[in-house]
């Protein structure tokens, strides 16, 4: 791949034509053997250069045409017999190399995902420890501040300062509560549940709190979608994503759609999944931020509005349930989060598997 030139096909075709000529013209078994080894190397090279399998026969065809032009005197019967071997050799080498490449890539993807999981787990453990210590410290700060309010005249500036100390301490407490929630990646007692009622209920709850210019809809009329989870986990996932979506919409006329689909298989997973989607027509997420969006403490909200823990909490919840979370976003058009959770056998909606529409 590194030495890839502007015309890799030209080079490969030229080499292959050369070796095909050798095979066609030579009666020496050693020369033929050498040419076959080269044919195999070319097949492998084509995989390295990401060329599709069909190109192998195209290269062969081009070489045959060149051979026929250069040596019209060669008897067809002999040539046809001799030139099949290099083609077969190139095909086999291509298939083998291709399979190895797929295995290596799958392994790389799995390793990357596992690394991310380990990193989040390590951060979770750290976060729990820090939050615990922090709460002890805040306990002293809040307690002594409250005691001090007894000592200071209520209408003094000192009392006002104390009020601010207490306010800030309680804000810090909310932050540590978020940290502890993030650290709690293990689901407690997931049980078989139909996500549809949980999602409907969450949508009803959210409608009451969202500003009037934002519409929130459930897409279509989904049938039962069974997964292993806790009711409040599903609620937390949908609620967090919808609140983020509402924040992304800001002043414009907004629409948030929540979808529930049964997928027979996804590129990441061959088993049936239930896909929850939250799609908004908000401002979108710039591509340079998309990779960092699940990191703890990452937030685009102004100070005091968000702790930056929401999405990492969701990431933890979804991973804990054996699912994946996906993100598609186009700045200026909107964002869609998709949560895939393993479907419970036989209980999903039949025949509704479909590729998600944008």
């Amino acid at each position: 791949m590194a030495e890839s030139t502007t015309n890799p096909m030209g080079e490969i075709t030229a080499s292959y034509t050369r070796l095909l000529l050798q095979v066609a013209l030579s009666d020496d078994p050693l020369t033929t053997e050498q040419a076959l080894i080269e044919a195999a190397a070319l097949g492998q090279e084509m995989v390295n250069r990401e060329l599709p399998l069909e190109e192998v026969s195209e290269v062969h065809h081009a070489a045959l045409v060149a051979l026929a032009k250069a040596h019209p005197e060669l008897p067809l019967a002999i040539v046809a017999d001799r030139v099949t071997a290099p083609l077969m050799e190139a095909y086999m080498a291509y298939s083998l190399a291709f399979r190895e490449q797929v295995e290596q890539r799958t392994h790389a993807i799995l390793t990357a995902r596992l690394d991310q999981l380990r990193r989040l787990e390590a951060i979770g453990t750290l976060a729990a420890g820090v939050a615990h210590e922090f709460n002890n410290i805040l306990g002293s700060i809040i307690g002594f501040s409250e005691l001090l309010t007894d000592e200071i005249p209520a209408d003094s500036s000192g009392a006002r300062y104390l009020h601010h100390i207490l306010q800030s301490s309680f804000r810090a407490r909310d932050l540590t509560a978020g940290l502890l929630e993030f650290a709690r990646t293990m689901p407690e007692t997931p049980e078989p549940m139909d996500v549809v009622p949980a999602v409907r209920e969450t949508i009803e709850l959210l409608r009451a709190t969202l500003p009037a210019h934002i519409r929130l809809e459930l897409e279509g009329n989904p049938g039962p979608a069974w997964v292993m989870a806790e009711h409040n986990q599903i609620q937390q996932i949908i609620m967090n994503l919808c609140i983020n979506a509402a924040d992304a919409i800001q002043a414009r006329e907004g629409l948030i759609r929540v979808g529930i689909d049964a997928l027979t298989s996804t590129p990441e997973c061959a088993t049936p999944m239930i896909r929850l989607t939250v799609t908004d027509n908000g401002e979108g997420i710039p591509s340079e931020l998309q990779a960092r969006i699940f990191d703890p403490f990452f937030t685009t909200k102004p100070p005091g509005k968000g702790t930056g823990l929401g999405l990492s909490v969701i990431h933890g919840l979804v991973t804990g349930l054996g699912g994946h979370i996906g993100l598609e976003s186009t700045p200026g058009v909107g964002t869609r989060f998709s949560i895939d959770l393993p479907a419970l056998g036989g209980a999903g909606t039949p025949d509704t598997a479909q590729a998600p529409s944008p």
Partner: protein, 122 residues
């Protein structure tokens, strides 16, 4: 006079709680570990125990377990800075399962403390 035993390894927090509850008119005993608390309970009988549950030297869960095994009638309030933590053994929920009267998630306000103590002593 109502006597409360405060058990916490954090000196500052223990001092704060002692000060706060003295002002509320309680008589206060203090211990810096579960072991100290058990020793103290050999000679004293408070009306209420407020204990942290995650302490390095003889933790609060052990204190609660020992008292429950002895069928101690003294009501217990368990406190912790971690409402739920990864290590399931050391959290307020496990204390609840062990039959403490109430739990307090640190940090808490004086109002909350008053209310929880009032309930526990009822």
């Amino acid at each position: 006079m109502t006597t409360i035993l405060i058990v916490d390894d954090d000196d500052t927090f223990r001092t704060m709680l002692q000060e706060m509850l003295s002002r509320e008119g309680f008589h206060i005993l203090t211990a810096g570990s579960g072991g100290q608390a058990l020793k103290l309970l050999n000679t004293q009988t408070p009306d209420l125990i407020i204990t942290d549950i995650l302490m390095p030297d003889g933790d609060g869960i052990e204190l609660i377990t020992t008292l429950k095994q002895k069928n101690s009638p003294i009501p217990i309030i368990a406190m912790s800075g971690g409402r739920r933590s990864i290590s399931l053994e050391f959290n307020l929920e496990s204390a609840e399962l062990m039959g403490v009267k109430a739990t307090l998630a640190k940090p808490f306000s004086r109002e909350t403390l008053r209310r929880v103590i009032e309930d526990a002593l009822r």
